[in-house]
Symmetry: C2
Subunit: 116 residues, 2 copies
DNA sequence: TAAAGTAGGTACTATATAGTAACTATGAGT
DNA sequence: ACTCATAGTTACTATATAGTACCTACTTTA
């Protein structure tokens, strides 16, 4: 049995989406830099391959978290940006980020205390 | 290059923790049912193996999200429950859950609208 | 004497998927 | 004629890890 049985809550589908590799980083960039073209976005996420970036963007678009604006010029122009749902998520991100920072702080203090 | 390079933000480590298989489900149960013994918890997460449950619990404990209370009786009694950090996360969970539910609602409406 | 329950640990396998490299069409520039 | 850029796609490989099955020590109960 795979875990799909047990993942009944709505939150889980969001987590599953967000947790793909690079995903949170991609959203973070789109949130802080605004809409970007594929190539520009790829350059902002050093190390990601076109394949994986495409994969992630497709999933995020399908979930309605980002929009995709395709202009069939030559060469084509494809722009990605946060949709309403993405902006909603960005708020939660900020909370998680704050919590994460505080935890890291606490852990550091704890370690320093033990070392003393 | 693996993605570790790119995951600089604090939020990411939390997401990475939460997203392990079953993890959010485990936390959800501990939040709604209170502290549970290993066996009881395992029974509440149908389909999970002892190995994976142990693995997840260890990670959550290491992150300070849950506590582990070990009593070396025979047979041993080990109780797990939400620590302060876990309760903090539970708040974010509720937000995500609400958002997830609304999205699912919206998606359903959308689909119904298209079908008509 | 044997089975069952506790809380796991160990060894192995199977599979999903991240990563790599090469390829697509089109046009612009030199 | 050749290269570069765009926005991907396709085919292949490599690896991390979820899953399965079996093991531990000890006691209680039948």
């Amino acid at each position: 049995m795979t875990q799909s049985h047990a993942t009944s809550c709505a939150m889980d589908s969001i987590l599953r989406l967000l947790m793909g590799p690079w995903t949170s980083y991609i959203l973070w960039i789109l949130q802080s830099e605004g809409p970007l073209r594929f190539g520009a976005l790829k350059r902002k996420v050093p190390g990601i391959s076109a394949k994986v970036l495409t994969e992630r963007l497709r999933l995020l678009e399908e979930a309605g978290v980002i929009f995709r604006d395709y202009k069939p010029t030559i060469p084509p122009q494809v722009t990605y940006g946060l949709a309403d749902r993405g902006k909603e998520l960005a708020e939660v991100f900020k909370t998680l980020n704050t919590i994460g920072r505080r935890w890291a702080e606490e852990d550091k203090m704890e370690k320093a205390g033990k070392a003393a």
